[in-house]
Symmetry: C2
């Protein structure tokens, strides 16, 4: 991590993400735990280079706010999108997708999960190396 990236960091790395749902190493800092007043869970996620989460859906949708690095977002059946600092992704309820770092950059986003009364996440299968590398 260079000096510029260190200055961009808003939150500490937090806890290691569960290996069941990630390929590679990611870190999750829960900044707003779910509750029944706000119905909104917010976490900060740091993906080490090459790391991505499994395909998954959010019953209440999700919004990603990119704060550092370079990463990818893909909805099933669509091309992989490159993400950089300041990019915002709106993920509608039930849309199958994954996100993660590019192969040679760390990647950090804030993940906002609204409408948690409908559920938070449903995990599916890992993103294969072939799927991950299909962005050229």
């Amino acid at each position: 991590m260079n000096t510029s990236e260190q200055q961009d960091t808003i939150f500490p790395k937090g806890e290691k993400a569960p290996t069941d749902y990630f390929t590679g190493t990611a870190w999750v800092k829960m900044i707003v735990p779910n509750d029944t007043s706000l119905n909104c869970q917010i976490g900060n996620v740091v993906f080490e280079p090459g790391t991505r989460n499994n395909w998954h859906t959010h019953p209440g949708g999700q919004i990603l706010i990119v704060t550092q690095g370079r990463g990818f977002y893909q909805e099933k059946g669509k091309p992989i999108q490159l993400l950089e600092k300041g990019d915002v992704v709106k993920i509608l309820p039930g849309v199958v997708h994954w996100h993660g770092a590019s192969s040679d950059n760390q990647f950090t986003h804030i993940a906002v999960n609204p409408n948690t009364q409908k559920g938070i996440v449903e995990w599916l299968e890992p993103v294969t190396d072939e799927e991950y590398n299909d962005h050229n």
Copy 2:
């Protein structure tokens, strides 16, 4: 703004905030407009030094994520809280409050408004200089 602060900036300043609801100069960049799928509106707000919004409430609550600078948050009848980068504020539905910059620092936060099906904001009276300065 010094070099370190410039590197912290995630979003451009956006549009000037409506003077009806702000004392001083603030800038709002809407990053997620409201819709009926996500029920979640997200904006980035930059407050120039000394600027604050009016007292107000959110029918669906609000979460503030501080990304730069130094500012204040106050709930009616409670002491003013100092906010800095990495601080997160959970504001429950209906709680009367204000937020803004300190007198000598710019201040930036992301404002997450969940549960917008219940409404987004109800504006009240301006924060007086006496109220604003009651933080020593």
